[in-house]
Symmetry: C2
Subunit: 399 residues, 2 copies
């Protein structure tokens, strides 16, 4: 009797999360040991409700387009298992005859997967659980990087050059621009916004990370100094940047809503800082808030990211067939002059609920920009060169 595999997707989606799903499906289809491939609709939340589909019946046409379709084709959730839920999930899986469970997600999903694996072990249920990393935040420990990060990094690196050129051209009208980028408690995305910078004049001129408190007086002084130097200023701010008081900037004036994992939801630091600049510096400021567009951009899907997401999905199935459980697939960068990526496993207990912040070696305290070490780390993940930009040399006539 064959093995039955169930796969689910969880957490905020990415531009390449379905590539991992495709990797799981194709590896499972290729294995003679696996006789059924099921999908949980909307992660464990749908699974608890019994919403399960037969992925084995999906057409080749659908699967062909799946790998490049952004977001989570199975549907996602942010559901924190309540007491009793692990047993309910395990009961569902037992009744479906599921032996193998793949959960594609980030920190919170690793926590869910770990609880299920642990409970199965405690109760003696024959269930193996492997998580596939997915997060634009790039904040999972142990793994070199996370599928989803390369694509959002590509988006923000290009968007900053694009929107920054806009501000440079419009410096007489709107000299200050603040762009709000994602990144929950970690500045990986904010740091990536500098990857298109080739020249001190290039944007961004200032970058504010969640790792460091943003003092509003210092901020205003830095914006003013940048404006005086370049005639305009382009500023990147992480959506979870905190003030000297430890509070999220742009949340304190508004409602604070938290989701079931305790994360803040409506924070608008760019808006708050733009209003502050207008009030105190008397300079016209715009803000851009690309929101979910940044994590989902089809035109900015990194080819490297797509491939690695796919391979991480395949590796999860290989690991399950090897008898592994309670682990997450990790991406490993072998040393050497040329970028390569291999795949391994790490215990979920060491992943779940741990956050990997941007290390000081990549963006030292007191420095304005990330280091060359960060650039060497991040550039290969972009999946190809960035667009080329030029500036006129501007040979002024003396009138």
């Amino acid at each position: 009797m064959g093995l039955r595999l169930l796969v689910g997707q969880s957490g905020g989606p990415t531009a390449v999360m379905n590539s991992s799903l495709l990797g799981v499906i194709e590896a499972a289809r290729a294995s003679p040991a696996i006789t059924a491939i099921y999908g949980a609709v909307d992660g464990v939340e749908g699974l608890l409700e019994g919403q399960v589909i037969d992925l084995g019946r999906e057409s080749p046409t659908t699967l062909r387009a799946l790998g490049r379709t952004p977001a989570a084709a199975l549907g996602s959730c942010r559901y924190k298992l309540a007491p009793g839920d692990p047993d309910r999930v395990l009961d569902r899986l037992r009744r479906l005859g599921v032996d193998l469970f793949v959960y594609i997600g980030g920190n919170d999903s690793a926590d869910t997967a770990h609880l299920l694996a642990e409970r199965a072990r405690q109760t003696g249920q024959e269930l193996r659980v492997i998580a596939v990393p997915k997060t634009i935040d790039n904040d999972l420990p142990i793994t070199d990087h996370c599928p989803g990060y390369g694509s959002i990094a590509r988006f923000v690196a290009i968007a900053l050059q694009d929107a920054g050129r806009d501000t440079e051209a419009m410096h007489r009208v709107d000299p200050i621009k603040i762009i709000e980028v994602m990144g929950r408690n970690a500045g990986w995305v904010a740091a990536a916004s500098t990857l298109g910078k080739r020249d001190p004049r290039d944007p961004p001129h200032l970058v504010y990370l969640p790792e460091r408190p943003l003092d509003l007086d210092c901020f205003l002084a830095e914006v003013e100094a940048t404006y005086r130097r370049y005639g305009h200023a382009v500023i990147v701010v992480s959506e979870t940047v905190r003030g000297s008081d430890g509070k999220l900037i742009g949340a304190e004036e508004e409602r604070e809503i938290r989701d079931s994992f305790g994360h803040h939801r409506l924070v608008e630091p760019a808006r708050r800082l733009a209003l502050l600049v207008e009030k105190h510096l008397k300079l016209r400021a715009r803000y851009d808030r690309p929101g979910t567009i940044q994590r989902m951009s089809t035109p900015c899907q990194s080819e490297t990211d797509l491939i690695e997401a796919y391979e991480a999905g395949r590796h999860a199935v290989t690991a399950l067939l090897d008898g592994e459980t309670d682990r997450m697939v990790i991406l490993i960068r072998p040393p050497g002059p040329t970028y390569r990526c291999t795949y391994g496993l790490a215990p979920l207990a060491e992943i779940a609920n741990h956050e990997k912040r941007l290390p000081p070696a990549f963006f030292p305290e007191g420095e304005a920009m990330p280091t060359k070490a960060f650039r060497d780390y991040a550039e290969p993940l972009l999946g190809g060169p960035l667009p080329e930009y030029t500036r006129l040399q501007r040979f002024f006539l003396t009138l």
Copy 2:
């Protein structure tokens, strides 16, 4: 003695505005009659200050990359000529020996170009003036469409599918998403956000245009009905949508700042509507505000738009050499089954300060979505096919 040409850029930049600049420079270089090519830094505002550069000295390397670099390489402005300014500009041009003036811009810039051409005629100055259309708003009359529109149309068409898939996947967490798109008093960009829609489930589900008042009670009812039907709702709102009272939505609570042409600056309708949805429908709502990123996206530059912007620039030089003045280059779509674009001229007086709204034939009052006629109009401007997306067919297991 040869002719001297001066070119300037004005108004909000676009992703292809430098392609027009390159067209002007290359056509001028190719003409034996033109012996000098100057650039006004920051449009007429810089010109009034005497900031003029010699474009003839720019290197081939710079010019090669110029055509695909977004924004305005000369710098731009939003400067309304004050009494006396036309004479000051004409004096500058006379002292520079400039005979030919090309101004790349939108409605306001056409107004400036017209005032200068008119004043030159009145004072007998030998100056010919041609405007090159540029505006993501696509709101210039007479011309079939405006360079810059095809690229922003491509951006919003893709961004809606991308961000909409995000909401569909996350319907249990944030079921409502409002995306704010550009478009000053005209719904051309908002309408383009539907160009990737292939299925009623596809985003956007609701589109709100500046051409029609948005009644807040109707809005809430429409959002709720959409949510009940699809489990989520993706809504596009134009940044200049007005309420039943005629006031800009999302501006009334905040400061109202106007620029020198009298246009509002800080309006945040998506934010306002998202807060309204949360308050009245008790549904969690997100908003994305791509801001200037949407008009400047290098990855979404339409190849058609790049070529047409370039040719419009070339055509301006041809027209000047033919002795034309006080005209704007227009794009003409010859009838026939295959899209083609030719170039002509229209009097600036018929362009300046006129706005072309989205016609009812493209988006009839009372209809939820634009017509096939709009799609036939807009699709060729996108410069190529949009990404392919798929959905799982979802064969549910009966548990």
